[in-house]
C-alpha cells in the first residue's frame, strides 16, 4: 500500500470531517439540551450555502465573508422559529417525536422556498482558490478544504468557549442539567432555549457554507447532509460538542480512506455499517454525553 496515499486520504478525510462536525454541533446541542431533533438543521445550512453562492456571483463576495451576513440572519431566524413554532410544542409529552415531525415540515417548506428562489439546478461554488493547492513535502492540501477545516476549528472552539466560559453559556448547561433549579436561579427557560436554538441554526449556516466549498449542492442536498448529522451525533454522543467534533472527523477519515482504496459503492456501506455497530455496542455514542 502506498503510504503517501494513506496519509493524503487521512488528511482530506480529517478536513472533510471537520466540516461535517461544524454542521453537526448545533444539531447535537439542540438534541441534547432541549430534546429537539431539528430535522431542518441541514436545510438552514443549505440556505446559507445558496446565499453565499448568490453573494459571490453578484457581488464577488468571498463565501467566508458572506457568513457576516448569514450568521446573524440565521440566528434571528432560528430565534423566531423557536419562539413561534418549537416552544409551543415543548410542553408535549414526546417532545422528540413531535419536534421531528414539526421540523420535517419546516425543512419541506424551506426546501421549496429554495426551489422557488434559486431553481433546481445543482450549483458549484467556484472561487479563485477552488482548485488551488499547496504542498507540504509529498502531501497536497486543497485550499477550500483547509479553509473549511479552519472554519470548523473556529466554530467548534467558539461554541465550546461560549458554553464553558460565558454566563449565558453556563445557563444553557445549567438548564439542561437541572431545569427546575435553573429557574430558581432566575434563568428564563424559554429565553435560554431560544438563544440555544438560534445559535445552533447559525452554526448550521457556517457548516452549510463549508459543505458548499467542498461539494456541489442543490435544493435536495440537505437530505443527504441530514444523514451525516445523525452519524456525527450518534458517533459523538448527544449534546457533546467535542464528541461531535471527533465524530465528524472519524466519519471523514473513514470516507476519505474508503474513497482512496475501495470502489465508490462501498463508502456508504462502510459508514453506515459503522453506525450500526456503534448503535449496537455503544448506544450512547463513543463519547460521554455532556454539555
Amino acid at each position: 500500500m502506498n503510504l503517501v496515499l494513506v496519509f493524503q486520504s487521512l488528511i482530506s478525510g480529517i478536513m472533510m470531517g471537520a466540516v461535517y462536525a461544524l454542521l453537526g454541533i448545533g444539531f447535537s446541542l439542540t438534541w441534547g439540551v432541549m430534546k429537539v431533533i431539528n430535522v431542518s438543521h441541514a436545510t438552514f445550512g443549505l440556505i446559507a450555502a445558496f446565499v453565499a453562492y448568490t453573494l459571490f456571483k453578484v457581488f464577488g463576495m468571498d463565501p467566508v465573508a458572506s457568513l457576516a451576513v448569514t450568521l446573524p440572519s440565521l440566528f434571528g431566524l432560528g430565534c423566531l422559529v423557536y419562539w413561534f413554532l418549537i416552544n409551543p410544542i415543548t410542553r408535549a409529552k414526546a417532545v422528540i417525536v413531535s419536534s421531528m415531525i414539526l421540523t420535517f415540515g419546516i425543512a419541506i417548506i424551506l426546501e421549496n422556498l429554495i426551489l422557488l428562489v434559486w431553481g433546481a439546478d445543482p450549483r458549484l461554488l467556484t472561487t479563485s482558490y477552488t482548485n488551488k493547492v499547496f504542498a507540504i513535502g509529498p502531501l497536497y492540501f486543497q485550499y477550500p478544504r483547509v479553509l473549511g477545516f479552519l472554519m470548523a476549528v473556529v466554530g467548534v472552539t467558539a461554541i465550546q468557549l461560549f458554553l464553558k466560559r460565558t454566563l449565558t453559556g453556563k445557563a444553557v448547561r445549567a438548564a439542561w442539567q437541572q431545569s427546575e433549579a435553573s429557574q430558581l436561579c432566575g434563568i428564563n427557560l424559554k429565553k435560554i432555549s431560544m438563544i440555544t436554538f438560534g445559535l445552533a441554526v447559525a452554526s448550521a449556516g457556517a457548516g452549510g457554507v463549508g459543505m458548499a466549498m467542498l461539494y456541489s449542492f442543490e435544493p435536495h442536498s440537505h437530505n443527504l447532509w441530514l444523514i451525516y448529522l445523525f452519524l456525527v451525533v450518534i458517533v459523538g454522543g448527544v449534546g457533546n460538542i467535542l464528541g461531535a467534533a471527533a465524530g465528524g472527523m472519524l466519519i471523514g477519515v473513514i470516507t476519505g480512506l474508503s474513497m482512496a482504496f475501495l470502489p465508490y459503492q462501498w463508502i456508504n456501506v462502510l459508514t453506515f455499517g459503522l453506525l450500526m455497530l456503534i448503535l449496537i455496542f455503544r448506544p450512547h455514542g463513543l463519547f460521554r454525553s455532556e454539555v
Partner: protein, 234 residues
C-alpha cells in the same frame, strides 16, 4: 413580607394543598412543619412559581406574585433552596455559585458575595474546582444554600435542608440559618425535623393533609400537646 392567601393547588384532580394561608414576617424565621406528603414542598413551589395555583393568591410586599414565572419571582429576591439540593452535577462548586448570581442585580457584586459564602462554608472554597456530583451530601447541601445566598435573597425558603444529613452537618446548617437571620435575613424553613426547626423559629405552621391545622409562636407550638404527641414523640 410574604403573604399566602388561601391557596389551593392540585395534581391531576387531587388537591395537594387546600386553602392554605400563611404569613412570613420580615426578619423572622417561620417554620412550616408536617409529615412527609403533607404538601409542604407544594407550598414552596407555589411561592416560587413552579407550581400553578387553582385558586388563591400570593403577595410579596403587597404585590401579587402568583401567576409570575419562576425567574420573575427569583428576581424579587424570593429564593428557594429546593428539596434534594438539585445542584448542577456536571458543574464545579464555583460554577454552581456563579449561576446562583445569574440575575443582573446579584451579578453586579457576585465575587464579593462569593467571598462571604466561602466565609460561611470554608469547605466550599477548598472544593471550589470540584464537580458537585462528586461531593458528599453535606457539602452538596452547603453548595445549595450557598447558591441561594448568591442571589442575595430577601426571603430564603429552605426545603428540608437537613434531609439525609448527619446530625453534625444538620447542626451546622441550622446554625448558619440562625446567623444569617441575625444579620436580617427572612427565612421560611420547611422540615420534618420538628424539634430542631421549632427551636430556631419565631413562628410556625403545622400542615396536615394539605391543610394548616395549627399555627402560632414557635415556642407555643413546642408546648402544644398535639405537636408533642404526633411530631416530637413525647
Amino acid at each position: 413580607m410574604l403573604r399566602i392567601d388561601s391557596i389551593t393547588a392540585k395534581y391531576q384532580d387531587l388537591s395537594a394543598i387546600s386553602e392554605v394561608s400563611l404569613d412570613v414576617e420580615d426578619g423572622k424565621i417561620t417554620a412550616l412543619i408536617g409529615s412527609n406528603g403533607a404538601g409542604k414542598t407544594t407550598i414552596l413551589n407555589s411561592v416560587s412559581g413552579l407550581k400553578e395555583l387553582s385558586s388563591g393568591r400570593i403577595y410579596w410586599n403587597d404585590r401579587i406574585i402568583s401567576g409570575s414565572s419562576p425567574d420573575q419571582i427569583a428576581a424579587l429576591g424570593v429564593i428557594q433552596v429546593p428539596e434534594g439540593r438539585k445542584l448542577f452535577p456536571a458543574m464545579t462548586v464555583e460554577e454552581n455559585l456563579e449561576l446562583g448570581a445569574y440575575l443582573p442585580g446579584p451579578r453586579r457584586d457576585w465575587t464579593k458575595t462569593r467571598k462571604r459564602v466561602f466565609e460561611l462554608f470554608p469547605r466550599l472554597e477548598e472544593r471550589r474546582k470540584q464537580y458537585t456530583g462528586s461531593l458528599s451530601g453535606g457539602e452538596q447541601q452547603m453548595v445549595a444554600v450557598g447558591r441561594a445566598l448568591m442571589a442575595l435573597p430577601k426571603l430564603l425558603m429552605l426545603d428540608e435542608p437537613s434531609l439525609g444529613l448527619a446530625p453534625i452537618v444538620t447542626d451546622e446548617i441550622f446554625k448558619i440559618i440562625v446567623e444569617l437571620n441575625r444579620e436580617g435575613l427572612t427565612a421560611l424553613v420547611v422540615s420534618q425535623e420538628v424539634l430542631q426547626t421549632l427551636s430556631i423559629s419565631n413562628a410556625a405552621y403545622l400542615l396536615e393533609n394539605g391543610k394548616i391545622v395549627l399555627h402560632g409562636a414557635a415556642g407555643a407550638m413546642l408546648a402544644d400537646p398535639k405537636v408533642k404527641e404526633s411530631y416530637l414523640g413525647i
